[in-house]
Amino acid sequence: MSVAYQPGKSRSRFARWFYHREEPLSASLLLLPAVLNTLFFTVFPVLMAVWISLQSWDLLTPPQFVGLKNYTEILFHDAHFRQAVGNTVYFVLGQVPLNVAVSLFLAILLNQKLKGISWFRTAFYTPIVTSTVSVAIVWLWMLNGDFGLINWGLRFMGISRPPNWLVDPFWAKPALILMTVWKNAGYYMVMFLAGLQSIPESLYEAAEVDGARSWRKFWSITFPLISPTTFLVTILLIVDAFQIFDQVYIITKGGPSGSTETIVYYIYNHGFEWFKMGYASAMAWILFVIIFILTLLQFRLQRKWVHYE
């Protein structure tokens, strides 16, 4: 339907040639940075990561091919790695459900038409904008056993011997989970709010006519209709929780006695503190496979509980 090129009129041979090839030509020009960047900094490194994971390499001496030894070592002989996986799974199982519940709860409260609601909204957004590093330092102080605000509050409420959060191997993980949920709640709340606002008001009105109570309305209308958002939030949270690093690095450095050492922190130590590149790469691939399988599993399971219109 284009008028730009009219075959009958006298146009140069170049114009005719260009007319038929303009779109692919422009596309290849426009895609050049994207393709080069992706080839150099994603595709090539991924291939390299496979190769590195089969080597023993400290970057100082030439790499030595060791086959699958790094993988078998990690999977069958590395007790620390097993502990790191256990810790990471603890973080995922502790953080994800709590985070979903808190964010959804806040979103439902904020979805009400009340005066001054935007002030509350701003308050809940604040932790999202600030970096994990800075709020981790803040929480390091909040969680201090003797002078931290949290333990002062617990003592005030009558708990005479509150846990020494970051020194006690049992309490260090819950402490980090608490901090992470506080940090993330607002972000996923925004997603839930968007989901809630797409539920038609008329459904609630109809339910009210039928005499449904708030709890019933939540389980029969809100929960099923918001399930696509819940699904997305859960997937994002799991992927995120599996890669927990910043707060571990700042607050506990993996301690006390390895109780907060996570997989990514362990990879970091192997790669950039001890320069065991092959071992670290193999671990990164194992983490990738774990996350990949879990995500696939979630997509399988979603048929059971996610409702699409």
Binding site: N37, F41, L109, A123, I137, W141, G186
Partner: protein, 278 residues
């Protein structure tokens, strides 16, 4: 109970719950600022007080002596700005090609790009580190800027937006002899300011908060962006809580100020990331 009474009690209990939640959320920030103005003795006073007396400014001067925090902030601002601008350029170019041009292999190629989003950063972390050492980019901003100069996510967000713009917009320009690239620059880009702003805010915020990448790639303190610098400063201040909180306050202040001024943009862009994934 009358209906009006019920609504009243419901609303006031809602206010109480929301108020408590909001207060708990911002308490750590208030506590940080309060601690930052306390004398070393007052930091350990029990019960703790939220209003420091006397106000002790020395924490701030000590913090600035221990680490060049303003330098760190400037470094982050520079890095995040450059990377954001590069991303806006490269992502919008790719998004236009994928969203509004026809060429062979377009859809499979786009799918392949989307597929790369599944690869988590820690897989490419080690090879990228080695690559940067090999290219002699290690310990320079090139190692941070060049790999981050394009993102598939940004392409996806902009492509979604470009595809909503009607075809006729460009056809009129083409009748007047405008090339496709010309109409991309003169018509599509100016009409996409909201989407570009959203991507800009997201990219800038993400880069500002980036920690692991610069932690690995940089060695020179003078080059540290604020997150790595703050972690370095944490080592300097160790348990001098007043000073540590003063430095942390300085690090958070610019972001919080920008957030309170440009709140609407933040909220909109955050909601969009959620929708983008749906």
């Amino acid at each position: 109970m009358s209906k009006g009474y019920r609504v009243f009690t419901l609303n006031s209990s809602l206010y109480v719950v929301l108020g408590t939640g909001a207060l708990l959320t911002i308490t750590p920030f208030l506590w940080t600022v309060a601690t930052s103005f306390k004398t070393p003795q007052a930091v350990f006073s029990i019960p703790p007080s939220f209003i420091p007396n006397p106000i002790y400014w020395k924490n701030y001067s000590d913090a600035l002596v221990a680490a060049p925090i303003f330098r760190f902030l400037w470094n982050s601002f520079f890095l995040a700005s450059v990377i954001t601008l590069l991303n806006l350029a490269t992502c919008s170019m790719a998004a236009y090609a994928f969203g509004r041009l026809n060429f062979r292999w377009r859809d499979p190629l786009f799918l392949a790009f989307l597929g790369t989003m599944m690869i988590p950063i820690h897989v490419t972390l080690i090879p990228n580190f080695i690559l940067m050492k090999y290219l002699h980019f290690y310990n320079s901003y090139k190692a941070l800027i060049i790999p981050a100069s394009y993102s598939v996510f940004g392409t996806f967000v902009l492509r979604q937006y470009f595809m909503t713009l009607p075809r006729e917009l460009e056809e009129a320009a083409r009748v007047d002899g405008c090339t496709r690239i010309g109409s991309f620059v003169r018509i599509i880009l100016p009409l996409s300011k909201p989407a570009l702003a959203t991507l800009g805010v997201l990219t800038f915020k993400g880069q500002w908060n980036e920690f692991l990448g610069p932690l690995i790639m940089l060695n020179d303190i003078k080059l540290f962006p604020i997150q790595v610098g703050l972690s370095f400063f944490q080592g300097q201040a160790s348990t001098k809580w007043g000073m540590l909180m003063a430095g942390t306050t300085l690090a958070m202040l610019p972001v919080l100020l920008v957030f309170f001024i440009g709140q609407k943009y933040f909220v909109k862009s955050m909601a969009l990331t959620g929708l983008g994934g749906r």
